[in-house]
């Protein structure tokens, strides 16, 4: 940890999420933190990552904060415009996308996601934005990474609604379900990185200053802990933080 450097939980999440992007990835990003992670990776360790937006924007490089994927600010700097069928059809369903970065309301131990609706304890239902391209990304990308804040209510062994399938659904594997790709490989939160593999979820690393036991207690899904304990996630660098603050999220909507 560099002396004098401090960061917010949101910045830590953006940096940890960006580290999941590999140079050369072809990536479909959801709005918000996934987008900050993707742009941060491109400006640091993964300069040749290609980012795509389902609305039909290829490799955007926005300079202003956008209100969403349908905000024209978000499409600035794109190298090509096309259609949803080109991004989610030709690129994604056509097996040309290596990484999907997705947000979630609720996640289970196999990385299946709910972005459709939440049912409160009193039975009240609250509806959210639904799948959009999220289900398509989960069904067809070579791998996906889930980016979300760490709240116990967001982890559930049974989702209120399974919008996007993870590594297994009802005990069935992706090939048995007819899905391609490995599925989700990690859940990155503002407290930890949870690796997802063939045997389930493992607490791979906790962020600097986090107590592993407290993180496990705040993660109510089956969660393995490595014999020697989890690693510590690398701290954000000054360069990463400057990029987030000056360029990628200057209004602090996602990382404040």
């Amino acid at each position: 940890m560099t002396p004098g450097v401090t960061w917010t939980r949101g910045e830590m999440l953006a940096v940890a999420g960006s580290l999941q992007v590999r140079d050369g990835d072809v990536t479909v990003v959801g709005l918000g933190l996934p987008q900050v992670c993707g742009f941060l990776a491109r400006r640091t360790h993964a300069p040749s990552v290609r980012l795509l937006l389902e609305i039909g924007a290829f490799e955007p490089d926005p300079t202003e904060s956008a209100m969403g994927i349908a905000d024209p600010r978000m499409w600035e700097g794109s190298t090509a415009f096309g259609s949803l069928l080109e991004v989610l059809g030709v690129m994604l369903h056509g097996q040309r996308v290596s990484l999907g970065l997705l947000g979630a309301l609720e996640v289970d131990q196999w990385g299946s996601l709910n972005t459709t609706e939440i049912v409160a304890e009193d039975g009240t239902r609250r509806r959210f934005r639904g799948s959009g391209g999220g289900n398509d990304i989960s069904s067809s990308a070579e791998r996906t990474v889930i980016i979300m804040t760490h709240q116990p209510r967001k982890f559930a062994s049974t989702l209120a609604f399974l919008t996007s399938p993870g590594r297994r659904v009802d005990g069935r594997s992706r090939p048995e379900l007819g899905l391609t790709g490995e599925g989700p490989t990690a859940i990155v939160t503002d407290r930890a990185v949870i690796a997802l593999g063939a045997s389930g979820a493992t607490l791979e690393s906790v962020h600097p200053g986090e107590d592993p036991d407290a993180v496990v207690a705040a993660t109510p899904i089956p969660l393995a802990v490595p014999a020697g304990g989890p690693a510590e996630t690398p701290s954000p660098t000054r360069f990463q933080l400057d990029l987030i603050r000056s360029r990628l999220d200057p209004k602090r909507w996602y990382t404040g």
Partner: protein, 285 residues
């Protein structure tokens, strides 16, 4: 120069031809390129029992749902981006007056694509293993099957052919050749799937003024050309105007206070205005 057909008509005349119970296809996306002028006119005309298909819902969808005009909405989700959720859609759905059928964005686009091409069916891996497949399966719109060539599981989907599609374009000539700039999301498939297509245009240009290479929707599939400058307000039209964030926020705030809030918005801004031009004058004043 070909004289050609003249398919221009006013928004009022077009809406007069849309009956209760029509299956509409809309093509806005959240806060961009919504056919808001069309939605206002439909609401003022008191249309009921509409079925709406839209890949990503936005303001137009929510206005129709808030007005109680829609019985069934088939969509791939939707929102007003960071301004907030589709309160009108969500409240009508949770209240039981609106049946929501949720797809993934790609699966619904593929059903429209199959409808446009007259394909007997189309198959995908999207929605397999998810809860999204349940409602469309129960409705007989999709079914789990297997690839006849390799036996792998797949989702077999029926083609979708709405009655009327309404699409907001940058420019159109009087015959209907239309151009769109920026990303086109599911506009191409939505426009082509419907049995009848209306283009709502920011600008009417002379036949031949749009370079044929730039025509996104050929007149051959267009039935009506409706002039409506700023007709997508308060949503954005790329290259023409930005969204009006303050107005969108006011709409979302009205929705957040419940159905009465949306009713008050409609009363003030839709029922309380004689035309979309009057709405624009008041809204930007």
């Amino acid at each position: 120069m070909t004289v050609g057909l003249d398919r221009r008509c006013s928004m009022g005349d077009f809406v007069a031809g849309i009956a209760d119970g029509t299956h509409l296809a809309l093509a806005g996306f959240a806060i961009s390129r919504n056919a808001v002028a069309f939605a206002h006119e439909l609401v003022r005309a008191g249309r009921r029992h509409l079925t709406v298909t839209q890949v990503i819902g936005g303001l137009e969808t929510d206005l129709l749902a808030a007005a109680g005009a829609v019985d069934t909405l088939t969509y791939g989700g939707g929102s007003l981006d960071r301004y907030g959720p589709l309160h009108g859609v969500n409240q009508a759905a949770l209240g039981g007056s609106l049946t929501l059928v949720e797809y993934s964005a790609l699966a619904l686009t593929l059903r429209l694509h199959a409808g446009a091409l007259g394909l007997p069916f189309i198959a995908t891996r999207s929605m397999l293993g998810s809860d999204l497949a349940s409602a469309p399966t129960d409705r007989g719109e999709v079914r789990a099957g297997e690839n006849p060539f390799d036996g792998a599981p797949c989702l077999i989907m029926s083609p979708l052919r709405p009655d009327v599609a309404v699409v907001h374009v940058d420019a159109a000539d009087k015959a209907g050749n239309a151009a769109i700039t920026g990303p086109t999301w599911s506009i191409p498939e939505t426009a082509r799937a419907a049995r009848s297509l209306a283009v709502v245009a920011e600008e009417i240009v002379k036949v031949g003024d749009i370079d044929p290479s730039n025509v996104d929707i050929p007149a051959a599939i267009v039935d009506a050309v409706i002039p409506a400058p700023r007709g997508a307000y308060p949503t954005a039209v790329y290259g023409h105007y930005d969204y009006d964030g303050a107005h969108l926020q006011m709409y979302v705030d009205a929705g957040a206070s419940g159905p009465a809030g949306l009713a008050a918005y409609l009363e003030r801004w839709v029922y309380g205005t004689a035309s979309f031009d009057e709405y624009l004058l008041r809204a930007v004043a």
